[in-house]
Symmetry: C2
Subunit: 311 residues, 2 copies
Amino acid sequence: MDNAFDLNAVVVFVRIVESGSLSAAARSMKMPKTTVSKRLASLEESLGVALIARTTRKLSVTEAGRAYFAHCQESLRLLEQARAEVTAARSHPSGHLKITAPVDIAHTLLPRVIHAFVGRHPGVRVEVLVANRLVDLVGEGVDLAIRAGPMRDSGMVGRKLIELTANVYASHAYLRRCKAPLQPKDLSSVEFIGYGGANGPFHMVKGRSSVKVDVNPTLVVDDFETIKELVVLGTGAGWLPDFVAKTAGASIVPAVRGWRAKSVGQVHFLYAKQRHPSANVKAFIDVAMEVVPLFLKGELAMPGGDERNLG
Amino acid sequence: MDNAFDLNAVVVFVRIVESGSLSAAARSMKMPKTTVSKRLASLEESLGVALIARTTRKLSVTEAGRAYFAHCQESLRLLEQARAEVTAARSHPSGHLKITAPVDIAHTLLPRVIHAFVGRHPGVRVEVLVANRLVDLVGEGVDLAIRAGPMRDSGMVGRKLIELTANVYASHAYLRRCKAPLQPKDLSSVEFIGYGGANGPFHMVKGRSSVKVDVNPTLVVDDFETIKELVVLGTGAGWLPDFVAKTAGASIVPAVRGWRAKSVGQVHFLYAKQRHPSANVKAFIDVAMEVVPLFLKGELAMPGGDERNLG
DNA sequence: ATGCATTGTCCATGGGTGTGCACAGTGAAA
DNA sequence: TTTCACTGTGCACACCCATGGACAATGCAT
């Protein structure tokens, strides 16, 4: 950085011309006169041109100085305007927001949140990237990710959205075919639809009670939404995250009344660890923290299918 | 100068975006990576906005960063262009040049110099301020003054143009009326036209000889050109600077053949003492140093009156 | 997998720079 | 004239900041 010339000196120069004197400029910028003097001198030095002819009392801007001043003033005005725009956008959400989420969440929680978000912040263009793979946030320019399970991305910070609660669900018709009411141990003998390969025994809780449940999956699917559809059709009982089951409305219910499956983790947000998080990100998280619990409690109106075009 | 934000950081930011990485930017600006990193961090701090999301390997410009970058890049381009224009104008004369000179010189030497100057540097607009008063150079935005006699302006530098030589001139007709050839002592008995109030005895020289001449002015005028006209008309003999007499062409000649008046000082330029004198000023002085001696030696063509409109 | 090169950041240190003071020069007021 | 307020600048010093080395993290090549 040997002889890169000091842009701040340009600011000083412009202020001098605007103020009409070094001292006035110094006052308006709240810096000592001597600094102003030296900055101007160094600018003239690095330009190799006299900008301001000065006696102790009078000032007059050189021909070169006048030309330079006109350009600089305009340029600095643009720069200041840019700064103002940015700091304005800092507080109130606007522009672009890119989100990624795994398919399960993208089909369930996410549409509700987005629906509320775009309603509240119409100026923001939202882009959603639905993928189960681990998206490289900074590499793909993603502002915010929603992930399930433990997070181990370095340089990122997380924030818990919800506890990942789940249960074994079944349709009313299916339950009528069984000898209700079922108990946890009965689940090992019903038609059970398992998830993916990582479907071992799980725990069910009721108050302080906790029992381990072994199941014999007659069917294994690696997609919760497909499982949900099967459960709705009465194919069998299936372990489902509550937020997935919820999208089926009242057509399916917990198979074992009064019990629920033990939580297996959290759903959380993940975004770049920065001193100054994006206003868009913060706003989106705020909306999500407000909307999702309502949705899970069933207090959220469930519109028909207008969010399907976002998937 | 508490929290005035660092414009140089903006330059660094722009270079980072252009280069695609902090390290690349550091290399291209020849400053250590650590400085680049800190500059960027401080810019984000003072803006209160994250501009660049960065992992150790990948970079991605924030929404806010993109908007800011576009404006800044344009603005800095303008600034750089301004700098280029100014430093270009440094070497080759252009723009505006304001000169002041006393009337005597403005009517004699100056037109010839200006004529040559505008012919050589057509891009420069020349403005001439003819006045015998002491013009405040910086106060009135004058780039260059021509003065006769000692200079005692502080903060200014001078450069000698010519030795202020003079002589006693008379017309051919007048000399015929006298009993030529005249000797220096004869001057006390001719009709002598004196200058202003400061017209005491003067010295005349011939080789190593020097004699003091006392005159009895029958007529005193405080304007050399008027004196010259009177001499041309044959009213008497008059002490005239050579450069004034020269404008009368061959119609007047030294009254005492072989002798001349002793020099009484210099004509010099006066301009602001600055590290970086204006290219215009330098060019003008160069032209003057070249043209004036030619004129005084009579080798310069004397056009009719086309320089009159410059007075 | 495992080096290897490269990236961005943290940290102690020295050089550069902004600061306060003093001073010459100037204009307005008395 | 003399005084006075104020201008812009030279100078010595303290302090901040750029510096370079070290380090964790990461992608590429083998």
